[in-house]
Subunit: 174 residues, 2 copies
Amino acid sequence: MRVLGIDPGLTRCGMGVVEGDVGRPLRLVDVNVLRTSASVPVAIRLVTIEKGINAWIEEYEPDAVAVERVFARSDVSTVMGTAQASGLALVAAARRGIPVALHTPSEVKAAVSGNGRADKAQVGAMVARLLRLDAPPKPADAADALALAICHIWRGGAQARIDAAVAAAGRRTP
Amino acid sequence: MRVLGIDPGLTRCGMGVVEGDVGRPLRLVDVNVLRTSASVPVAIRLVTIEKGINAWIEEYEPDAVAVERVFARSDVSTVMGTAQASGLALVAAARRGIPVALHTPSEVKAAVSGNGRADKAQVGAMVARLLRLDAPPKPADAADALALAICHIWRGGAQARIDAAVAAAGRRTP
């Protein structure tokens, strides 16, 4: 199973592709952070993010896309841009009929480290260990995107089959 | 000048097309409200909204798109979906090189009614009067989308030319 994890953001949008299955070793396929400048109008920044996500979906053909669930109670100065970027990620997957799932930050932290309140350093260290990397991926958005993909693979199974059925139903809708 | 106004939302997304120029009569071209059901996964709902917006941009070929600016301090239960829908509207315009502008609710109310704190009934009544309709457009999201388009036409002029230059610059970016 190949999963694209997306940690949405307007300034930095993390994207990480991981291959693996429950109970089998994980493999890092690729990781990147899309960056856009605050000096550019929001609409243009969002187009850059959409193009970047589309390019990776086409290149890596993931079986599923996992996106971090954004909460309205997050930091007010960034939450709007984060929500807009997350919407683009959801649409990029769903319009192709690729199953897409949302995972909360605590679900992701708990999945990779066993602790839903793990800090960024712990998440980065566990991602490095699970993917057999020499060092934690930088910046944190890269590690978070990989952690999302790992979380999705490990939470997979039944939920992935439900998501696939939902996505297929969406694809049949005119 | 033909403007597509979009009042973004996940449950109801208002779209209104108005033609006109500063100091000349306005004309209603079309108005609609896209609806999606809360029983459908968010990703699928967003795809429906994206398709609806794309279809109208292709059918009506607006010279500009005006989108309501969403604030993080808005109603927490709906703000995430509203932000996601607004991101799709911005991208739908910007990826085609169509100038896109954000207007705040008070800018829109002030433009159509002279009062930045006008209520929904006042906005609806003024939209009906300006477009020579027999009654205010229903639901309020339809009237709001038309008010956005009118606001953009009247605030147009210099700002529209700046937006066009920015959009053209974005289009040249690889």
